[in-house]
Symmetry: C2
DNA sequence: GTAATTTCAGAAATCGATTGCACTATCGAT
DNA sequence: ATCGATAGTGCAATCGATTTCTGAAATTAC
C-alpha cells in the first residue's frame, strides 16, 4: 500500500513552483510558459502522477458520471442498450454507473437514491414493471439532475425519452401473419401497465381491424416469460381449437409458446406461425425453427439516449424536452415463413 | 436547477452552531448531546439535506466503490455474477462500477485505467479472452488497490481468486456421456489460453482415460460460439462418421453443435448426445431438446468474490491470498438422457 | 469552596485540485 | 525616464465534510 499518493503539491515542491502553476500547466493553460509545462509534465510522468478525480469532482461539482437504471441486464435488449450507452459516454469522457431494479419498484427507488447520493450528473432510466410511482425520479429532477427515459417510459414523467416503434412493430408483426394466411391470431401480452406492451397490443388490434378480422378479446392472454407463456398456451390448447398464429410481446414468451405448441404435436409454422418481439439473437436464431421477431435497436437506443442526456446536461446545447422514436423492423425467419 | 445545494454549513447557520457539531451530530458521535442531535436531524430533514459524498470521499480518501471488469454482460453467467456482486456490495454500503472489456485487451486496459482514476477501493475482474499481459492490473495493485479475480483468472497474477470446478465439471460431463454408452465423444473447446477451457478439456481427457477410452486428438476441435461450433461440427460430419456425443466448452457452442447435428438429420440424444457448460437457463431449458449442462454458480461466485475483496480492503480482516473453488454440478436434461 | 473531571462544542486544519486576484519582471512606446 | 501592456507565477480562498486540538461550562469529589 503506497499510502501516500502523489499530488500536484509533490510536483510543485520538486520544481520549486506553486501548486497552482502545476495545475495550470497540466491543464495546458495559456498563461504558462512552454518550458514550465514541459518540466511539469516530465516530473508528473516521473512520479507517475494520477490526478485525484474525487478532488476535481468536488471542486467542479461535477462527477462526469452517468447513472443508468435498467430492469435486468440479463436481457439481451438491455445489455445492448448498455453497450450503446457506454460507447457514447466513454467517448465523451464520462463514466457509467449501472444499476438493476430487478423489476422491483423498491429496488429502483434504492438505486435512484444511491445514484443521487453519488452525485451523478445525469440519469438514464427504463422503469420496472412494478413501478407505480416515480417520486424517486422526481427527487433527482428537483435537484436539477437531467433524466432521459428509454424503452419503458413512465407516462406522467416530464423528461426526454427514446422509444422504439412498439405500435408499428405490433402492427407489422400481425400484418405479416395475416399475409401468411393466418386468421386466428393469439396475442401474448404482459400484465401490468407498461406502455410498450399496450402499444404492441394496440398495433395487433389495429392490424386485425384493418384486415376485417374481428377482434376476439379471448385471443389476448397474459404471458410475458417463458414459463407463463408456455402455461397460458397449454391452457388454451387444452380447451379450445388451436390458433393458427401467435404474436408474443417478447421473445421469451414466444419461445414458451413454441414449446407448448410443439409438445401439443402441432407443427411450426405450418399449423401455428409464431412471432416474437425484440429480436434477441441469442434466442431467435438458435431456436428450432428460428424465430421471426420484431427487431428493437437496443444499441442505437442506448447511444441516442445518452446523446440526448449529455445535451440536457449542457445548458448551452439544451433543446428542451424531446421524444425520439426509433424504427423497429420485422425480421422474418422460419417460425412464420410458410 | 436548484444550483445551491444544502450543506452542513446551512444547517449550522440555521441552528447557530458550528459545522463540526453538525457533522458529529449526523454521525451519531457520543460527544454530542441528544437535544442537539435531534435538532440537527430535524433541520436536516426540513432542508432535505443530502451529504455530499464526493466531499466525504475526498476527506476519507475512500470512495466506497468497487470496480468490476467482465468480458460481456450479455452472457447469463456474467449477469448472474454481477447480481451476486451487487447483493453483497450494496448490503455493505458499497457501489459497483461495471465495465465490459468486450473480449478486448485494449478495452480492458482502458477500463482498468478509468477505474483507477475513479479511485475505486477494490477491483473484481474476469480477464478477456485476448488478454496476454496484465500490466494494467499490476498498476492498480501497485497503488494498493486490492484485486480479486473470478472465473477467468490470469495465471501469473498474484491475487485472490474465485473459480468453479472446471476440471471436475469437464470430467463429470464426460463420465456422464460414457455412462450413457457413448464411446466417440467430441469436445468443442475455446481457442486461446483461458485456463478454464484448458481445465475443462483436461477433465474430458482424464475421464476418457479413466474409462479406457483412447484419447483421439482429432476429437478435440475449436468452437466456442454458436457460429464457430456449428461450422466446426458441420465440417466433421462432412468428412467423418459422426461422433456419438459432444461435450462443448459452453452452452452456446453446444447449441451450435445441436443445430448442425439436427440439420444433418441425426437425432438428439439417440444418435448424438450433447452436453454444454455453464447452464444458462435462458438457453438450456428452452432448447429442443433441453440441454444437459454443467452448472456454474455465477451468483454465488459474485457474492464470494465480493466478500473476499471487502476482506482484502479491510487491513484488519485481511487473511492474505486465497483461492476459492466453487462446486459445479451436472444438470441432466433430455439432450443426453437416453 | 476549591480542585478535578466530565460533557459538550467550536476553531481551524485537512483531503487535492481549481481559480480569481495580485504581483513582478520584461519590453516597447512615448 | 516613465508609463502601460503583457507574460508568467504565486497566494489564498474554495468545494463540503471530517477530525484534531482546544476550551468553556457543568458536575463531582474532598
Amino acid at each position: 500500500m503506497s499510502s501516500t499518493q502523489i499530488t500536484i503539491k509533490d510536483i510543485a515542491r520538486k520544481l520549486n513552483i506553486a501548486p497552482s502553476t502545476v495545475s495550470r500547466a497540466l491543464k495546458g493553460h495559456p498563461d504558462i510558459s512552454e518550458s514550465t509545462k514541459e518540466a511539469v509534465t516530465r516530473v508528473a510522468r516521473e512520479l507517475d502522477y494520477q490526478p485525484n478525480t474525487v478532488a476535481q469532482n468536488l471542486r467542479q461539482s461535477k462527477t462526469f458520471t452517468i447513472g443508468v437504471i435498467v430492469p435486468e441486464i440479463v436481457h439481451y435488449f438491455f445489455s445492448s442498450v448498455i453497450s450503446g450507452i457506454e460507447d457514447v459516454a466513454y467517448s465523451m469522457g464520462y463514466h457509467v454507473m449501472i444499476c438493476q431494479s430487478n423489476e422491483s419498484m423498491e429496488r429502483e427507488q434504492m438505486n435512484a437514491n444511491a445514484l443521487m447520493a453519488s452525485r451523478v450528473d445525469g440519469l438514464l432510466v427504463s422503469v420496472s414493471k412494478t413501478t407505480t410511482s416515480v417520486d424517486h425520479l422526481l427527487a433527482l429532477q428537483k435537484r436539477g439532475i437531467p433524466i432521459v427515459q428509454f424503452d419503458r417510459c413512465y407516462p406522467d414523467l416530464d423528461t426526454c425519452s427514446v422509444t422504439a416503434q412498439d405500435y408499428q412493430g405490433g402492427y407489422n408483426a400481425t400484418q405479416h401473419l395475416i399475409d401468411k394466411g393466418c386468421k386466428k391470431i393469439l396475442h401474448l401480452t404482459a400484465p401490468g401497465n407498461l406502455i410498450i406492451s399496450q402499444e404492441r397490443a394496440k398495433g395487433y388490434k389495429d392490424a386485425l381491424q384493418k384486415n376485417q378480422i374481428i377482434f376476439d378479446p379471448n385471443l389476448i392472454i397474459l404471458g410475458d416469460s417463458f414459463k407463463t407463456a408456455k402455461e397460458a398456451v397449454e391452457e388454451v390448447l387444452k380447451h379450445n381449437s388451436p390458433p393458427d398464429a401467435i404474436f408474443a410481446v417478447n421473445d421469451l414468451a414466444a419461445i414458451g409458446a413454441m414449446k407448448a405448441i410443439k409438445e401439443h404435436g402441432l407443427r411450426i409454422p405450418d399449423d401455428v406461425a409464431i412471432v416474437g418481439f425484440s429480436d434477441d439473437p441469442t434466442i431467435t436464431e438458435l431456436m428450432d425453427p428460428p424465430l421471426t421477431s420484431v427487431l428493437q435497436p437496443g444499441f442505437e437506443m442506448g447511444m441516442l439516449a445518452t446523446r440526448m442526456l449529455l445535451e440536457q446536461m449542457d445548458k448551452k446545447s439544451n433543446r428542451g424536452i424531446r421524444h425520439e422514436v426509433l424504427r423497429t423492423e420485422l425480421v422474418v425467419r422460419s417460425s412464420s415463413d410458410r
